[in-house]
Symmetry: D2
Subunit: 403 residues, 4 copies
């Protein structure tokens, strides 16, 4: 057992920290200004492309693609502390390193399950950061945490699949650079529960596919990174070759996609918590009320200490999970992935709540990133399965030891 | 001791419930549609004026103005259960009844401290619902929970006062109908701590007064009820007659204004909780996951029960506080007002969090009122003094019993 | 609606407060000394009888017996604030006023369901405080919160009932003054779920009845008020006339017994919280660490304020429940009784936890009543049904409104 | 970074697990029976010596003495998982391996600071497990978390030190095998804050030393492992050679003693949590209420899952702390030691509370170890400094990064 980072990780951390200092943090106000000035409400500020170019030049690229060092991918245990650092500037750093959701999960799916043709057509430009993508699973009408509820139909018709259905909260679909959606639907509603679903690649400009309104997350439209679209599929036809894997494999592919996606979110969320805590420490040292800096007032100190205690525990569990994914595989790390999926959002949400409180009105405003982060991590308690589903599953695993 | 409403309250509750059913709830989708279509991003949908006209016609008007039955005002204990009902449609019902913040507090101030001239010029149109108003106290640069921190200057110059400073989160100031601001600033920084501040009436169109951007609350701009403006005062001149009360009385007036304002928020927040719980019960009875309605799943039932237990306790404390305000005065009810100011937002926030969770993605979206309510009540943990300030004060009162 | 006590309550409160000051508090150290010196580990210190005599003389007697003013009984709403006061000295005051569990519940049962013969033989001496009693329901082998699980058998044999079974946590059964047990068992296991059970009166000296060991509650044997015995019934024969009500009515009688018992516990628990808070305020004003009294340290102040906010809400709900029991009956107050059964122990437990923390080692010791109280209220989260059972039932009632 | 145990740890874990299965668990009922039968209320059951002999024979001995492999000591990172295992049978396994508090801390003190004479006289028999010891620091009259409050005096008089004062909660002092106390007192009240205190060795049979009553922890006297005595020092004279280290070094020695003591408690507490969870899983699989095993009821499953998530995080932080103590020293691990001192008791207390709840009345009784454990870990929130002191210190360290 050893709690020190290896030399490669240390070196990459240093390079990434320098990149943050030299490029990312200075880009934050530029990003904000460009957002304020844009005409297209979904346009991505040009500073993002500048950052991407710089990161790629520096070799800070595609770290997320575990198992594929040829593209820059690192083992999870090496990527984790880097992903945490990117979380500190969560709107800029992940995308700058081409490590932003939902592309990451989509690239993983194409790497694992894509045909050569699919890889050439979609994976390559994604790996190059030339296009963006979306993943269309959640539906408004049903509890999507239970994949068997999905109502979107994907029906084979000659050489094509015909897609009909309605999705929402399709993140990134409003990004002008988004060219492709991976769509989950049912090809065989009569098959065994977990063999009914399939996934197909649907180019965003396919006739019949309509991007509707952007869905909100606590008042945020997240238009700075592609929003969360409602998407309508009305007799959308794609070539049969757009099927990913085989018919009936949609559920299995979705499961394979989830593990890494979850841990990436957790890693970044810890970075969010660290930066929020940093902002808060600075604030309370500076801000005076009733004759003393807030930092000297008992309850504020308690918040800070509690945050530190919580972050340390959480980070270790995320790192151990990364270690297990590398050593025994995503399946072997299933319980731990669920544990961090449960533990991270609530912990970071608690910390952000206290950081907001310590900031007063500024905390809920657009002048600090705190409220936006809080909305984001809170929605992670729902995203790809509410906590309650994961808790139930975890309990089942625990009880199975004794029955 | 008697826990039943009196006959007058029962009668008004029935009339108000009928008004909600016949006019307010049906107006909700109209309001949403008119908001979506407006061109001025701060315009108030016309349906609001229709509701106001109808409410006034029915005598459901100005209930909040305790001590002034001639304007429709009720004792706090009678108003409380009515205010709760208006909270169920918090964007429409309070304004429909001319019982919406910040006008309510401003009307109270003018009633208590205004000159005849001031009353005629500003109070009357406010009581008629013809204009709106704002209250400018919070400043971005200082911890405003400590009123002695205020930096805005109000300087006497001949027959005028000259105002210089910067305020933010001035609710309602972006409402096109807003004509008047009550502004808090320092007239004498060298006076005793609580005699430094004064309040002046500043018409919104006074030269030098500039309404800046709308401040956000968790991504919401609250443009449907006047937003929360940043306001700049640059050598703003008003007649000396616009002073409210005397010089040095600003702090005392602010204190007098706070009590009723707090209890109104609390009353309405309970209505929010009740409606959220109702929406959630209906949802979980309807929604199926893993083969059973959510309502049959243990943890969801626990949320519902906990919500009921919490609401019942909270409502009683709010009602008792109203009773004390009526019987021993706002000052005598000081401790209880602080207690409900602390207890209400957190309790309702907890309930809303569970309601959001039970709604899945819809819960954080614009398709239910839940996320917006959660942002609102969460900001009440900061508004007019963060919880921590009130807790400290409450503890002091408790300890004083023994020292 | 009126939150003031009526004149009768005020007068009784004053008399009771005087009795506490003049007799009960001074008796506390005497009680402790007598406990330390006794030889029989279950003996009740003689000071208790002195207090009883004095209380009876002063007419502070049998207040609990709602509906029976001829015995001293008060309406619940009048009794509630008095019961709270007795909770401040929970080991002495309730028994001094002949208002201690489990006799109270047993007297209610006999009053409601007893034959004249039973009343004469058992109720009268109980009302006089001449004997004590126990209520034997809980069994070690089954989840007793589900009464249909009960395994003790009560079989008719000629003119007798024969009882066989094992009970535990039979409070008061080790009190030397305990003469009678009300025993719940099954007379007809094949009847409808809630008609299988019956209750019989079993004198403690009946052959075959054996009082076993005293069960602990977090290390406490509660020997100062009769402990919690394990009781074995081995072919215990009692006359058929000892049946309470009819065969199959055991469940209904148990239900009737629970309501008042629960609210009495809640009332007294609030008194516990108040006295613990008082002890704590005094302690933290006095105790210095790191150069300042604990009372000036932020987190301690927050505890005190939170305790005050929680107690105020809780007390109001208990009082409203008492009001409902008086006006619409125990059945009509069912939901509220459940709500206070859930809310009280946890709230008081939280307060006591903080009071212990503020007392340091003294808090967990025998030198303050805090730890003992904490053990007691914590066990109330289990007693007559764990919280989870009540929450589930409360949720069902809430959901029923919409289905 | 590597999350697997090294080979030595794995081997020792296997041997210890076998020892637990073959000797410790079977000794638990024997221990209980011998406790029930003893005449001396502070006697230690003879089965303990049998276990010690067996453990020593198997080389499972003195693991705690980090840095001293010659006595069996292991690095903290190797000891941690073993200590956790001993926590599963917390009344027997630690003492069986001669790794029980307070001897462990005392042996560390003597190893680090003792003279050769002191080591020969006291350390050797302690390392052999032939005698027991106590550590006398806490005083009833002052907040002992602030060592400068200590009032016990240690005054040099010729070749002797004279000790006067009163201590309490001196764990182990009632153990008949306890022969020696390390006593903290003030030699120079006028010295600099942290140079006023010294430590002396006081044999338990020294004239003037009187062992008073056993102090309770939530009703438990902990007589099975030496209780927690009140100790009076009345002109107690010991040779000057009994001073540990130099005069004025008492505070520094106490600090050196605390780190390892804290982590040992934390390690064992995790073992407590694991065994409690195991007992609970078995219970809820077995116990039926309302027609279904408790294990299928939503809220119980949630408890189990939450416990698992919490334990995993906590254990990692404890292990990392052990790693830091080994690599950068106890001083370098100061923040982490505080973090686990804060995090462990509350986490395990929460878990035990749910385990008690799932066990019903048995949970608070003497028939399961749960309630006793809960009392124990709860007292750890106070022992050697309440959480609040550690939180404040931790916050100071965090804030120092930015000031």
């Amino acid at each position: 057992m050893d709690f020190a980072f290896d030399a490669r990780t240390e070196e990459l951390r240093e390079r990434l920290l320098a990149f943050m200092d030299e490029h990312v943090y200075p880009a934050e106000p530029v990003f904000a200004a460009q957002l304020a000035e844009r005409e297209d409400p979904w346009a991505i500020p040009p500073v993002v492309e500048d950052l991407k170019a710089e990161a790629r030049k520096q070799g800070l690229w595609n770290f997320f693609l575990t198992g594929h060092p040829e593209h820059g991918g690192l083992p999870n245990l090496q990527y984790a502390p880097l992903a945490e650092i990117t979380g500190r500037s969560s709107h800029l750093a992940p995308v700058a390193l081409n490590c932003a959701a939902p592309d990451t999960g989509n690239m993983e799916v194409l790497t694992m399950f894509g045909t050569d043709e699919q890889k050439k057509r979609w994976l390559e430009p994604l790996l190059d950061g030339r296009i963006r993508s979306a993943f269309a699973m959640t539906e408004p009408e049903v509890a999507s945490s239970d994949a068997t509820n999905i109502t979107t139909r994907i029906v084979r018709d000659g050489d094509e699949y015909v897609v009909n259905g309605r999705k929402w909260y399709i993140s990134g679909a409003l990004n002008p650079a988004c060219e492709i959606l991976i769509v989950m639907g049912k090809t065989d509603p009569d098959a065994e529960r977990h063999r009914q679903q399939s996934m197909v690649l649907v180019p965003r400009d396919t006739p019949g596919l309509r991007i509707g309104r952007g869905m909100s997350v606590f008042g945020y439209d997240d238009s700075d990174h592609g929003g969360h679209a409602e998407v309508f599929f009305d007799d959308v036809r794609v070539p049969a070759a757009n099927l990913i894997g085989g018919e009936g494999e949609g559920f299995a592919i979705a499961q394979a996609r989830l593990g890494p996606g979850r841990i990436h979110h957790c890693m970044r969320s810890i970075g969010v918590a660290e930066r929020a805590l940093e902002l808060t420490c600075k604030r309370v040292l500076d801000r005076v009320a009733f004759g003393r800096p807030l930092a000297e007032q008992g309850v504020v100190r308690e918040w800070i200490a509690e945050a530190r205690v919580a972050i340390e525990q959480l980070r270790l569990l995320v790192l151990k999970t990364a270690y297990l994914m590398d050593t025994v595989g995503n399946r072997g790390a299933h319980t731990e992935i669920q544990a961090i999926k449960i533990a991270t959002p609530r912990t970071v949400e608690w910390i952000l709540d206290k950081c907001v409180q310590a900031h007063g009105a500024a905390g809920v405003s657009q002048d600090t990133p705190l409220a936006g982060w809080q909305a984001g991590v809170r929605s992670l308690r729902l995203a790809d399965g509410p906590d309650e589903v994961h808790l139930r599953s975890l309990a089942r695993a625990e009880l199975r030891k004794y029955s």
